[in-house]
């Protein structure tokens, strides 16, 4: 029974991965980049699922980890010649992990809403520091830099194209997924789920719950930082906007939309949300132009605030698919 399910899982995994590998061939440049961004936001959302879905903690600090990954990568890319991809990863991960350790140490003493608010305050503190420390961070304008090459020193060096960058990001996100999946099934991951189920009982059977939470936040922050590094490489800039807590909120929304506690769900959520937003933002100008072709002037239609229908769809998903898109699809498949 379980062996059969494992086989089905790996078959589905292989099919989806193969589809994702060939998908950009049929797509124009813009959508290739869009797909890369979906994967990066999916990685951020997946990293926060470790806390939301597995440990039962909602973090609003992920923008700080993401942002520090960005600025860490920026530091490496601006100070070393030629810019090195691996140093960008290293600096970004160290920056994100350091901040995650700091935030984890202070915030995991608190629970529920108090944990969420503490992480939010920390992310805002880092936002203010980055925003005002203009000399080092470029302040409001952020930092711009050139993209490193995909290189292994002494072996090869290829400049990134949209296509190779997409594959690189796909490889990193797939690798991260496999690592996170393994962690969630390890003894450590089972303790996190036990904390989510019944924190007091977990402590009573001998687990130092706070220490487990600290390590969970650090892992989560590390992968959020990895997403930040990828975003910096993709867009060739680091900006304070990405440290702002709203980015953490978006990660939470992707989790809820896709289904928490599944790792893949948050990626599905990110894809659904970003595609819907893109589609809706184009829909109203399109409708207005169609209408005017038929001699119909509909003032204001082109500027219709498309975030309103997006919000309504999100609320509908929360109400009618409380386990998210993935949870809903799974139930349908099992029926």
């Amino acid at each position: 029974m379980t062996a059969r399910r494992t086989r089905i899982f790996w078959m589905a995994f292989a099919v989806i991965l193969a589809l994702l590998i060939v998908m950009p061939f049929g797509l124009p440049e813009f959508w290739r980049r869009f797909l890369t961004e979906i994967l990066i936001w999916g990685l951020l959302a997946m990293s926060s699922d470790i806390l939301i879905g597995y440990t039962g903690m909602v973090s609003f600090g992920h923008s700080a980890f993401f942002g520090l990954g960005m600025y860490g990568a920026a530091a490496a890319l601006l100070t070393t010649r030629p810019p090195s991809l691996w140093l960008a990863l290293l600096y970004g991960l160290i920056a994100a992990a350091t901040v995650a350790a700091f935030v984890a140490y202070f915030s995991t003493r608190l629970r529920d809403i108090y944990f969420a608010i503490t992480t939010l305050i920390f992310s805002q503190i880092f936002y203010v520091i980055i925003f005002t420390w203009t000399d080092a961070t470029g302040g409001e304008n952020g930092l711009a830099f050139s993209r490193p090459a995909l290189a292994i020193p002494g072996l090869f060096s290829l400049p990134f194209t949209t296509l190779t960058l997409y594959w690189f990001v796909l490889a990193v996100v797939t690798g991260s997924y496999l690592v996170l999946r393994r962690i969630t099934r390890s003894p450590f991951g089972m303790v996190l789920q036990s904390i989510r189920e019944n924190e007091a009982r977990t402590r009573a059977i001998g687990y130092p719950v706070e220490r487990y939470k600290i390590v969970a936040v650090m892992f989560s922050g590390l992968f959020a930082g990895l997403a930040g590094v990828l975003y910096a490489i993709q867009n060739r800039f680091a900006a304070p906007d990405f440290v702002f807590f709203v980015v953490s909120g978006e990660a939470v929304i992707y989790n809820i939309m896709g289904g928490v506690g599944t790792l893949v769900g948050p990626i599905v959520g990110a894809a659904a949300f970003l595609l819907l937003r893109e589609g809706l933002s184009r829909l109203f100008p399109y409708l207005a132009s169609v209408a005017s072709q038929h001699g119909l002037a509909l003032p204001g239609l082109a500027e219709f605030p498309y975030l309103i229908p997006l919000g309504i769809i999100f609320i509908a998903i929360v109400i009618f698919m409380p386990q998210g898109l993935l949870g809903f699809a799974r139930r349908r498949l099992n029926e």
Partner: protein, 263 residues
Amino acid sequence: MAADLSSAALAAAAAPVGAAPVLRTEDLGIRFGGLAALNGVNFAVARGEIRAVIGPNGAGKSTFFNCLTGVLRPSSGRILFNDDEITGLSPNRISRKGIARSYQITNILPNATTLENVRIAAQSRRHGWSLFTHHRAFRDIIEKAEAVLATVGLAAKADELAANLSHGEQRNLEIGIALATEPQLLCLDEPTAGMSAGETDDTIALVRRIARDLTILIVEHDMTVVMGLAHRITVLHYGAILAEGTPAEIQSNPRVLEVYLKT
């Protein structure tokens, strides 16, 4: 006379009186605002003993367990476990020293399987920080968990969600979780609460079986069960020890009869 002697010898064999106590409290007290929920409790239990703690509702029995297991920090006094002071330690530290408990109100992982409930408890002693190996790869933990489920009579329900077990089964799972941490001292807070007569008999038989390797403190309201099970009984009343002795002594103690057994 001869009969008296042999029953005394039996009691002595079962409860090694005079052995160094495994657990001791000195002048233990805790206050909730103006209420002294425990007050000057001097308590000792010998290794291998089954000790019942009885008393009317609100006497402080659960509060006593909460102090022993670190859920509550005593306002005064000391708790010594194997002559080691454990007063005010966190619940996880106390668990690691070898004290486990079950709860008056069922306290399990409802959305995990029965097996996982005891497996996670067994894992608390080994491999808990293992990050990159699948938890099912640790056969020693699984075997320990399966052995515990067999002991508490839940082997057939291993793959069932704990939430789907009957109330009586959940009460026994509660004991299984505590046992899986391999304690020296097991505190059972009304393990038979809400059970049918048949389930109660099974659970009491279970307590007798596991008592061969452990020291047991048990809070229990059913007096026939208490009298048949305990080596000694401690009576709490308004947070203080009212009486202590063998079941026979307690049954004939006029103060106990007055406050407790008369109803």
